[in-house]
């Protein structure tokens, strides 16, 4: 488990008691720990000299509340990535959906004069002023997943690719159904009003267009198991025959699969989204309609840590010629199928 360099001075009896409680709570549902190799990068990435210990640095990290498996995994993997470096001390200001509080957390980091801040804002625009303040104070900010509205507010931005997710899913569906122009394609989206959902759907639609398919049935859920179940049950009622189904999110996918099971339907294949370990195990086992999932990496925070470290220790991305760390890193959204699931399952998140 992670051994954070937490200052143990706060060891008052009360906090000790809390810690015991917290540990008890952790061990009861600790996910089968499977991704200890985060520190060295994914299996594909070679372990470079950059991992050699450098100057001791302090990184502050703040993210929204872990009310979704993906978000929980962000914090987990970030902590793990930091723990793997003896030269990194991570200050975690944990999970809040209150921008006022998150601003205050970042202010604390600034007061503390940390060397870098990795920030996954609850609301990118709302966190921009305080990020600017940090940059003004000479602290590089690594913006993760939700973009600030001012490019000067971050030194590096690490983003997933929502449009790319849709494209990947669409392309996969095309590959499977390309020869059937009248195949029925369905889609279960996340929260419809979010730009990220709109981007994903747009990508999906565009990719399907290239092979002459279109979305016949579309419903939206809300990223929760319960919402997925409800949306899927309605969709299955509305569409008596389906050939392919894309579900944006594997967390809500648990509910979607339950609804499919209940309806006794198996005439179609399903593609997931985000890439939870659950979904990948299911793909590996091949025991359900879930054939593939499209990854929206939950390792963005971990990559943020790595980039922050390089930045502060003035190292370059070793495989690039450029001597500075790039301004923007956008992560790829690969399709995971039974054939390549082994490659990804270790970095997948537990929902």
């Amino acid at each position: 488990m992670s051994l954070l360099p937490i200052k143990k001075k706060l060891g008052t009896g009360l906090v000790a008691g809390l810690a015991v409680l917290a540990l008890a709570a952790c061990t009861s549902n600790d996910p089968k720990s499977n991704s200890d190799n985060l520190a060295g990068g994914t299996t594909a990435a070679a372990q470079g000299s950059n991992d050699a210990a450098g100057d001791k640095i302090v990184i502050g990290f703040s993210a929204p509340a872990a009310d979704h498996g993906w978000m929980g995994s962000i914090t987990e993997s970030t902590k793990k990535a930091a723990a793997a470096y003896p030269d990194v001390e991570l200050h975690v200001a944990e999970g809040t959906n209150d921008v006022n509080l998150q601003i205050s957390q970042v202010e604390t980091f600034i007061n503390d004069k940390v060397d870098a801040i990795v920030l996954l804002p609850f609301d990118g625009a709302a966190m921009t002023p305080v990020a600017l303040k940090a940059m003004d104070a000479g602290i590089p900010v690594i913006n993760v997943d939700r973009e600030f509205d001012d490019p000067n507010a971050a030194r590096v931005t690490v983003l997933g690719d929502n449009y790319g997710m849709g494209v990947s899913a669409g392309t996969y569906v095309c590959q499977q159904l390309g020869d059937k122009p009248d195949a029925v394609v369905a889609e279960i989206a996340g929260i419809d009003s979010l730009p990220l959902t709109q981007d994903r759907s747009q990508g999906f639609k565009d990719a399907l267009g290239t092979c002459g398919l279109n979305v016949d049935n579309r419903v939206a859920a809300d990223f929760t198991v319960q919402g997925g179940e409800t949306a899927a049950a309605n969709l299955l009622q509305a569409a008596p025959h389906i050939d392919a189904l894309w579900n944006h999110d594997d967390d809500q996918g648990v509910g979607v699969l339950a609804a499919i099971e209940n309806a006794g339907r198996d005439e179609f294949f399903m593609v997931g989204g985000a890439g939870s370990a659950n979904a990948m195990r299911s793909i590996q086992a091949g025991d359900s309609v879930l054939q593939a999932t499209v990854i929206y990496p939950s390792t963005q925070g971990a990559d943020g840590i790595k980039l922050a470290r390089l930045l502060v220790q003035q190292k370059a991305l070793s495989d690039l010629v450029e001597v500075e760390v790039p301004r923007l890193v956008q992560l790829y959204a690969p399709v995971v199928t039974k054939d390549n699931v082994d490659q990804y399952i270790d970095t997948a998140f537990e929902s």
Binding site: A22, V92, G95, D98, N111, D123, P129
Partner: protein, 361 residues
């Protein structure tokens, strides 16, 4: 700190019957009264201070923990300002909430009103108007929206006969819904530079929003303790029927209380808008719980009739300092929430113990 609260010291002693008493007894009692009366003001001060004392001790303990665990990182000027900036928004809401709770009500919609105010004052049209005329247009809009929502709450409760819990629950849902509709669920960014500059300025090195918090607290204290409005609030909260029969416009007063809180939400919305340079329908989520918690641990009676602004300010500071100490020490939000819950329960149990002891004398 000579704040007088609604409740009054209850000196133990015989609840003297005024029946035929023998002269000696009467003389003795009179002497006792004189002795006690000379110390009346002092006794009042002592109990009020006594009530706040627990909070002071709690805050000092918390600061001690902060100093021990984080040293200068905690005890720096910058960190104090960080705590106060965090406290300012929720503090202004809590001060308004103190009035409503003292007046025998409750308001669950403060977070939603804050969100709606923040959204309304940052719409494109508001901002355009502000740029064309003056940035204070945004201030006026936020305050009007807050006060308007409070007015609706108050009218529903006082004249519609809807219980406060339900009326404000409805406002919670609909104000946030309206905020989402207006903003289209997008975060609205403030472009009016003059607004940002004004609100993010400092006065003698103290951030403006902290100054506003202090002002609101001071005005709130005076209003509750030194004006007819405050006295009537205590009466309406303590016994609405007796207040009505004493000739107080109870309904009108109730409306005013909710308008006042709505206004505070508008002020808090401006503070949050300036802090984030955005207006959003997600601003202020769950602030109602934070505000009620701060008010209650401060010593204001949830059933009304007794309220303390100083207590509320301490309540807010305790919670925000707790958050700060936990952040400085890398502790998780979950532990914080757990501790927060324990503090609330402890404070309320203590309050009830005091109340029951008072009832017995």
């Amino acid at each position: 700190m000579s704040e007088s609260v609604g409740g009054v010291s209850t000196p133990e002693g015989p609840t003297a019957g005024d029946g035929p008493t023998r002269d000696t007894e009467r003389v003795e009692r009179a002497a006792e009264e004189t002795a006690r009366d000379s110390g009346g003001a002092l006794a009042l001060l002592q109990t009020t201070a006594g009530r706040s004392l627990g909070l002071v001790v709690a805050l000092i303990l918390l600061c001690a923990v902060g100093m021990i665990t984080a040293g200068d990182r905690f005890a720096s000027y910058d960190n104090m300002m960080t705590i106060l900036r965090l406290a300012a928004t929720i503090g202004v809401v809590s001060i308004g909430m103190t009035f409503v709770i003292t007046g025998g009500g409750i308001d669950l919609s403060v977070g939603a009103i804050l969100a709606l105010s923040s959204v309304w004052c940052t719409t494109l049209s508001t901002q355009t108007m502000a740029e064309d005329t003056h940035w204070s247009v945004m201030v006026v809009v936020a305050l009007l929206v807050g006060a308007g929502c409070g007015l609706i709450n108050g009218l529903l409760i006082a004249y519609g006969g809807v219980v406060p819990f339900i009326a404000t629950l409805a406002m919670l849902a609909s104000a946030r819904g309206l905020a989402e509709i207006i903003s289209n669920r997008r975060t609205q960014i403030v472009h009016v530079q003059a607004f940002k500059d004004s609100f993010n300025s400092e006065i003698f090195g103290i951030p403006l929003i902290v100054v506003i918090f202090v002002l609101v607290a001071a005005i709130g204290w005076v209003l509750l303790n030194r004006t007819t409005f405050g006295r009537r609030t205590l009466a309406v909260g303590g016994n609405p029927e007796a207040a009505r029969l004493a000739g107080i416009h109870v309904k009108r007063h109730t409306v005013l209380l909710y308008v006042l809180l709505g206004l505070c939400c508008g002020i808090a919305a401006l503070m949050l808008v300036s802090r984030t340079t955005t207006g959003s329908s997600t601003h202020g989520t769950l602030y109602e719980l934070d505000a009620i918690a701060a008010v209650v641990i401060g010593g204001t009676l949830l059933s009304g009739g007794r309220g303390t602004i100083v207590g509320t300010v301490f309540g807010v500071l305790i919670f925000t300092t707790l958050t700060n100490v936990f952040t400085l020490n890398n502790r998780s939000i979950s532990e914080q929430s757990l501790l927060k819950g324990l503090i609330i329960v402890a404070a309320v149990l203590l309050q009830q113990r005091l109340a029951s002891r008072k009832g017995n004398t």
